[in-house]
Symmetry: C5
Subunit: 312 residues, 5 copies
């Protein structure tokens, strides 16, 4: 493992030029000097270096004369909010060297590099093996992410018909956004792997291709899951909206029925509050009871009517 | 039929190595020892063994040097809830052996194996026939599932316009989820079959290919049905929401009309409840009847007006 | 024309084996004996016979050694309800014979067979001509169906903005369901025809191919129409829902305005119904008129205000 | 230019059979005699003649031995309603003749024919040039149509957020329907042109192909526009529905607030309208003012409360 | 750099005909004379000239004998409104000349031309380099546009659940429209680049192709972003509508509860406002307090009931 600190670039260059042994150069926190270094030592194409040192590149693979340039993404959930942290990294893959470039430190690169270094000596895996080990480590990180999303979708679905939670809407919205971002990264990565598999690339042995096929299968599974969860969320959103509209219906119905009951009784009270001189009930000894009884009768009749009309 | 219990692995290995006769090994409730066994005896690729012993694999077929690795799903409805139980299983298909691996006991495997064993002797079907018999048995189990879903969709559609049932929404939601899960399994299985059909695979005779084509046709039919039922459910959901909104309209309309009638009469009662000293109607002998008549007249006029405006 | 009644199967078999002349065998109301008969006389593949005698097969064509097996659907509207009656039928097409199998009697088969029989003799059309005549007759039956659907869609669209009919929703729902079922049959039939056209099949002469191309064009037209009507119905549904929501808006607006007017007047009546000893208006000679005038003034002011705010 | 009136069919036939010169026969208001004529003189295939004399054919091109049969549509807006008038026409294109068949008179045919006739003599354009001139004239008529639709969509979008017009819904509905009909014609026409371009057809010179490519580009542009306007209209419909729902929200909110204010004041009036003997406020000299003040205080407090809750 | 002012067309023509050196002719504010000039000097096809001088062409590339005709768009945001300004331009690319035609002055053309001119002499880049430099400059202008859209979408999403802003709807509508227009330009431009890359075009060296691939990658990224933002906006619209409907629910619920409380108390007041002669409470010393207490008790009971039913 070699980091291109300012002092050892000469050593890297000489090892590279000697053509002996395998070389994995890791460039983190890239600066302008690194671009210069890659141009001078490895002679990479200016466009490829521009891609590698610029953020927000789309996952892709470009074939140059005797090396590939490969853009990929590592993903991670940020704390509680559930937002995705997308960390692009770039690989230059040559016959006997691998250059990995990334802005932030990536544990996947450190781990893969460490394990590759351990097996130093005549049995050290070739460059192809280093590449697929790294890609495998990166893609394996997607699964806990998907599991977490799956858990939240399940939770959401379970709660949908048992209790109404207005926060569900925001959860659906955030999950959908996360899946959109996930898809935006995974779909082109799948195309990159497909590209690597279809072409006969000298760097990769038949054994390597089997492992790349495995990485490809994992990406297909992630894409499938993303699509399924998007459909499930659309389904959940439809249900949420319909449950919400059901609640509106319910509220309007029950409460307006209450209005009608109260207004009917109020009308009766209003009638007996009129000041007519000739109003027989007023003088009845049981007039007051009669009025209250009338209110009760009308209310009960209305309730029975609404029951009969299936509104209650 | 041979189960790789700890004691007979040697026997299996020797029969396999002898290359004589046909061998169907069934591994249920897989553990680490089984992976080791498969690696030692059959020399399967580590990636293929990893796929076979890990759950939640996507249906797929991989071609290795002299065997295929095939992931597939058996499905079953769980009791009343209507949720799908997806049980993955894995096949290794060689020239003269078949290894089936699954977590849970699968009746389809037991049945197919039993029938295959019965025909032991010189007339015993070849490995290709065993494979298509097993796949056919598994896929045939999908049809009762689809029939059950079809019955529920029909029921739902029939009830949609006759009686309003708020539970319909949950039914639609659950059916759609079931279809999404079904599709997630069936679509890649169709691709697997298509893959087996397009390639010239030495394991399968021309006769076998006709039977695999039949399994493929069944999967196409299931996929078609899944798509049709999804469309029908979307159609039903639209109708449900519209019927629901219609009911809201109805409730708001009829009940607000009631409010207007009651409020008009209340206003009249309120007017004659005012305490003005000079208020001629108060002293009319028929004042009370006049007020009640006024209420009736206004109410009937309003009803006629609403009828004329087509609101009632 | 020969029907495989129990007594003439021997005759059919001998005519078939002689290889002389052309043979069209029609099997209606299929039973187990028919499967046996087809297997014995023509030697059809067991899978093909299973397809032919089982209902609810998907339209498809399978090529066997020296014959094709072809599944197709005749459609018909059932009475008033507008539901589709889908009647599957099956054809076996050999060099000099045609076997047609169907559960229900099909007038298209009877007619095509009759016309084919008429031209008996040296000028009798070949098997290819019999096949395309039959398919043409079946597909021509789709057009009156589509015309009927088109008429209903037109009617629906015309009425959408002139008068509100809550039944429109059910009509849209039923038409969409019918189109879904239609598409489910027609789309694979189009693929079947495309399949017949692309392959060089010895049964069909160049002349036959032109006629099959015509049947194919008709199926493309039907599929196009189905898609267009689905889009028109989605468009109509959107409009229906929006008109419905417009009516809710209208009802809520006008009626709540009425509530405000009535409540304002009621408040004035309530104020003058208070029992305060010192309340100057009560003793005014024109107090009563003043109160009624106040009610009118407030009501008119509110109406003008709502007009100004464009709510009325 | 020759019209196959009953008297000159002999002349046309002889000119056609002589194989000298170029012939453009235009058949308008087709009747059964025309079919017979085309069959007798040019020997067209019965299916092609059936297509040509039947209305409502789908745009398509069929290649026969030494001529093509081509179905196409001219479109026109009908008056004010904005509905499309689709007029099918049919072309038979041979090496040295062109037969155009249409029900209604088509100005595009008359114009193209006129210009083609003008250049009579040795410099007269070949049949290929006549075809692309005619198709170009027909397709050029689509652009004013699209411009008109574009203008209406723009108008609609501009008005959407400034003033609410319930008629917008009907406009959206009609425009969408028009675009669906347009697409139904233009999409297969594009395929027809693509077909003409991809095949090496002896009738068309390299120069003709450049012009046909131009017609094809125009059709692609029209299809693109149709799709864009459909998306814009869906966008506009969503906005319309949301603005409509916003207005409902607004109405419900403001008016129900009014109800609460009025009911609170009414309650106070009701309390002081109670007939209790012991009710101190009743005898206060300023009791009436106190009650009115209380109503004002409560109303203002409620308004402030609603302001604070952001409901007003 | 040469502008075809009326005086120097002769010079351009002679330089072009000499076939020595490279020529970049820029035609701005095109008029009829320019079409004539291009036809006379370069002999471009009339259709290509028509395309070049007519506005609103679709991005495309046409291959003529020894030059390409290429239509492309420069885009710019107009001020505050966020509307896109689409400026078409046209290129004719020959072996040793480049003609750029546009209506409005385009800074991208001026800049690219300037930089190309600077390197005059034996080291001057070839025509292919001029083309990709120009296209690169144009496509690079799309990114600030996309960033601006991204910022607005982010802003919108952040505000969606914190504060309700009815203006959000108009923002969503305008952004969606902008993305539709963007897509309409970018998608065919991507096809144009793909076309240039797939064909072996003599004008472009291997080095040029790498740069064109880079431009293509940028266009793919823009298209991806457009699609992602459209999905995010649909997601945001769904959420907006649901939040809006939630607010309606909330308003209806809280305010109708208020109505019920007020109406209950009013009913009590109404009852004690009745004029019955025999009404015991009226004469109670604490009758007034009893009535007010009853109102309070009923109101509190109702609030507790609504709390218990989870409506409050």
């Amino acid at each position: 493992m070699v980091s291109p600190s300012r002092t050892n670039t000469f050593e890297i260059a000489s090892r590279f030029r000697s053509g002996e042994g395998l070389l994995w150069v890791d460039v983190s926190e890239t600066g302008p000097a690194d671009g210069q270094f890659m141009s001078d030592v490895f002679g990479f194409h200016p466009l490829a270096i521009e891609d590698a040192t610029r953020a927000s590149e789309r996952p892709k693979v470009d074939l140059y004369n005797d090396y590939y340039s490969l853009a990929f993404y590592a993903t991670r959930l940020i704390g509680e909010t559930g937002d995705l942290d997308l960390q692009p990294f770039h690989l230059f893959v040559g016959a006997n060297y691998l250059v990995s470039i990334h802005e932030q430190p990536l544990p996947e690169v450190v781990d893969s590099m460490g394990r590759w270094e351990l097996k130093n000596g005549p049995l050290q895996p070739k460059i192809g093996a280093a590449v697929h080990a790294l890609l495998d480590a990166v893609v394996d990180e997607y699964f806990p992410l998907m599991d977490q999303i799956a858990d939240r979708v399940d939770e959401l679905e379970d709660s949908l018909f048992t209790e109404f939670n207005p926060k569900s809407l925001e959860t659906i919205f955030r999950l959908k956004k996360g899946l959109l971002n996930m898809r935006r990264v995974v779909a082109p990565e799948r195309d990159v792997l497909n590209h690597l598999l279809r072409r006969e690339l000298p760097v990769f042995t038949t054994e390597d291709v089997a492992y790349l096929q495995d990485v490809y299968d994992h990406l297909v599974r992630v894409t499938d899951s993303v699509d399924t969860y998007r459909d499930l969320l659309s389904n959940a959103l439809d249900s949420f909206l319909s449950v919400q509209s059901n609640r509106l219906n319910e509220a309007v119905k029950v409460l307006t029925i209450a209005s009608i009951l109260l207004m009917s009784s109020s009308l009766i009270a209003g009638i007996y509050g009129m000041n007519f001189v000739h109003m027989p009930e007023i003088r009845w000894p049981l007039g007051y009871a009669w009025a209250l009884g009338l209110m009760a009768t009308v209310s009960i009749s209305l309730i029975l009517f609404f029951r009969w009309r299936k509104w209650l």
